[in-house]
């Protein structure tokens, strides 16, 4: 050893010192740092877990939101369709009623007009008849001579003779 230039005692003491230093360092520095690192790793993992959970919840919420939105759209569509159908039905009913009313009014008006035309025609015809009879009376009165009067009296007598 001495030939190599090494002092055994010094070597031993340095080994012991290093061992002691290692023990002290391990107790006072390495372990707390390791513990701190582990805690930090745990916190990070927990944060990651939380983030993942939050993301999952967000995804679920989004799915739920989409479902709710889809349901609401469907319901709104159904309501709109129902309202449209009802409105169309009411429109058809109103149109049919309006057509019927219009037809009734036209028929009534035509009947009234026809009645008025007929009454007017009747009055005109009767006036014409009265006028014709009046003219005939006048013409007969003007053209009947004495001889014809006596012929008519003879005819009356003949007809009385024929009465039973």
């Amino acid at each position: 050893m001495q030939e190599l230039g090494l002092d055994l005692g010094l070597l031993l003491s340095q080994i012991v010192n290093f061992g002691l230093l290692a023990i002290v360092l391990s107790l006072l520095l390495y372990r707390p740092i390791l513990r701190k690192l582990e805690e930090r790793a745990n916190r990070i993992n927990k944060g990651l877990d939380d983030a993942e959970r939050a993301q999952q919840m967000l995804a679920e919420a989004q799915v739920e939101y989409q479902n709710t939105l889809e349901r609401a759209r469907r319901e709104a569509h159904e309501i709109t369709e129902r309202a449209t159908r009802l409105a169309e039905q009411q429109r058809q009913e109103i149109l049919a009623q309006a057509r019927q009313d219009a037809s009734d009014i036209v028929a009534r008006t035509e009947q009234q007009a026809q009645r008025q035309i007929d009454e007017s025609q009747l009055a005109s015809r009767q006036q014409i008849i009265d006028l014709a009879v009046a003219i005939a009376s006048r013409l007969i009165a003007q053209n009947l001579d004495e001889a014809k009067h006596h012929e008519l009296i003879e005819e009356f007598l003949a007809e009385v003779e024929q009465l039973k």
Binding site: E110, Q126, A141, H149, H150, L152, I153, E154, L157
Partner: protein, 120 residues
């Protein structure tokens, strides 16, 4: 005068029976003519009416130009209208009835057409 003379229209068996009771008292017969009657015509009218009603008549003759011509006579409730005025009135009545009937027929036809159109 035509065959459809109004003379026969107002003659009803019951009326004639009522006018010609068995009573021999003269019944008043009102006769209207448009011109003055000759004596022979007056006699003939009395005879024909008395024969028809079967009893004596007291003839009252009125000259009434409004009957235009012929003879109009009333015995009791029976009227024998052989006047031209009666003919014309009968003609007017007939034409008015025909006119009303034609208008009614037109109205029925137009009513049927309207209901057919409504059905279509």
């Amino acid at each position: 005068m035509s065959g459809a003379h109004p003379l026969s229209q107002n003659v009803d068996g019951a009326d004639r029976e009522q006018a010609s009771t068995r009573d021999e008292t003269p019944l008043q017969a009102l006769v209207r003519v448009a011109v003055a009657l000759r004596a022979s015509e007056r006699r003939a009218i009395r005879e024909r009416l008395e024969r028809y009603f079967g009893r004596p008549l007291e003839l009252i003759v009125e000259q009434d130009p409004s009957i235009l011509g012929g003879v109009w006579a009333r015995v009791g409730d029976v009227v024998l209208d052989g006047s031209l005025r009666g003919c014309l009135e009968a003609l007017r009545h007939h034409l008015r009835s025909q006119s009303r009937a034609m208008i009614s027929a037109d109205l029925r036809i137009s009513g049927v057409r309207a209901s057919e159109r409504d059905h279509r």
